[in-house]
Symmetry: C2
Subunit: 276 residues, 2 copies
């Protein structure tokens, strides 16, 4: 028996994985979640046909979505993660001793359950006493949450289809602004510079109408078709200026992020810079 998994990035181009074994396929209230053991990338989580991460390369995405905004803030204590039910983002956040509380608001409890069953590598900090998990729509949560409470909000969502659509709208970013302290930072995964350029432009333009500082940065994520983008809205600190603190106890154990990478990540290709 032999399976191959395909994901199209565009109509005519995409990626494939050889599968050793299909471990799970489950339809939740919101989406279809599949997990397989790949030939040489460890276990892979797929949501609605798109690779969320592989065990082998998840470090790039999770380190880059977390440490760029974390090291752009002098004292990030209270962190909110919207989405990110696989736990990889929480794991990276908790490497910082400054952190007092991480609240993970994930709409789909099935993602958390399956991640806990199959991915100890990413869920290892979900039981940390500093971590709180709320199974709830992030948009609803932010409407009601306390004002000026968080230092950092990370939106670790799927693409803007299904339950994630509202996470790319200005109402949501306004609610994030309200929930952040007056030196708070919002960071949003904003798609592929190569095949979702319109999405990045929309996110950047919307965030720059709300936050005084809006910045796009990129990282090389092989499993997402090469390059990936993140968009930051910041009230006070400019992440493009580089890290505002250094902690080699953290960075010496990372696989991707370092302070040069942080600064270099804000250099955008011409084709992207013209739009954002």
């Amino acid at each position: 028996m032999s399976f191959i998994f395909f994901e199209n990035y565009t109509e005519g181009w995409g990626t494939f994985f050889r599968i050793k074994e299909i471990l799970c396929h489950k339809e939740s209230k919101y989406q279809k979640i599949e997990i397989f053991e790949s030939w040489d990338h460890g276990k892979v989580m797929v949501i609605d046909g798109a690779v969320m991460f592989t065990e082998k390369d998840e470090f790039t995405y999770h380190e880059m979505i977390v440490h760029v905004p974390m090291f752009s803030h002098p004292n990030p204590e209270r962190i909110l993660v919207i989405g990110g039910g696989d736990g990889g983002t929480v794991r990276e956040i908790l490497k910082h001793d400054t952190v007092k509380e991480v609240l993970l608001v994930e709409i789909d409890e099935v993602v958390i359950e399956l991640a806990e069953k199959y991915f100890p590598q990413t869920t290892c900090e979900l039981k940390n006493p500093k971590t709180k998990i709320l199974v709830r729509d992030g948009i609803e949560f932010l409407k009601e949450c306390q004002e000026a409470y968080f230092d950092l909000i990370i939106v670790d969502s799927t693409d803007p289809v299904g339950p994630a659509v509202g996470l790319f709208e200005s109402d949501f970013y306004n609610a994030c602004y309200r929930a952040l302290k007056d030196d708070g930072i919002l960071n949003v995964q904003s798609g592929s510079p190569y095949f979702q350029k319109d999405l990045i432009e929309k996110v950047k333009n919307t965030i720059s109408m709300i936050f005084p500082i809006a910045r796009v940065y990129i990282a090389g994520v092989p499993m997402y078709g090469g390059l990936w983008s993140f968009t930051i809205g910041s009230k006070k600190y400019d992440p493009k200026m580089g890290p505002v603190r250094e902690d080699y106890k953290i960075t010496s154990n990372l696989k991707y992020y370092n302070y040069d990478i942080h600064r270099g990540a804000f250099a955008l290709p011409n084709y992207l810079r013209k739009g954002v």
Copy 2:
């Protein structure tokens, strides 16, 4: 009728293209060359089963292999390209007014012939009076070529299989050193940071035993599995310090390269930095 092209990056992971039409498949003395019209990436050239470039995204690779070393040199006049029979590298070099002569030494004339037939986009400067083409083994050529003649040598080769094996050996880099002026620069495509890390380390270590300055830089090339690396050996100028001259007449018309990208490209992920 319907074809799909697959390329494995690792045993269990790779990329695919939907094919509109197979335009050509030809076995030369050295390698198998195939050209197809893809669904949404224009025409694609494949050598020995590996995508060389697509019309849609060749700009990233060609701009990055050329403009980083070109802008690291104050006055690059004589340029040698080893390989690069598709012409894309020559096209980028000739955007610089400093250039007096480009010598393209390509072992396989079939690559040049097919590129001229199918890819006017990349071959457009092969007929430029400043361009000279020599169909010859680059290794043999360098053994006999004039000493201290070139300002820049670019090795735009395939992976180290078949005719390209010798292009990754120290004898060859020594011959390049000899052929370069005393402020000359060598730039070599050195594979994927993600799945050819050993190759990059080997190239970097070999070049750093010959040249006083050795630097690795990276770019996001979706068609090569995400990230790609280049390794520079330099006698005088440190390309990591950034461009030594600026020419907005060139850069304002590029799609990828700009001066921030140049500087940012030398920031390497931890997993790569530890080895090189």
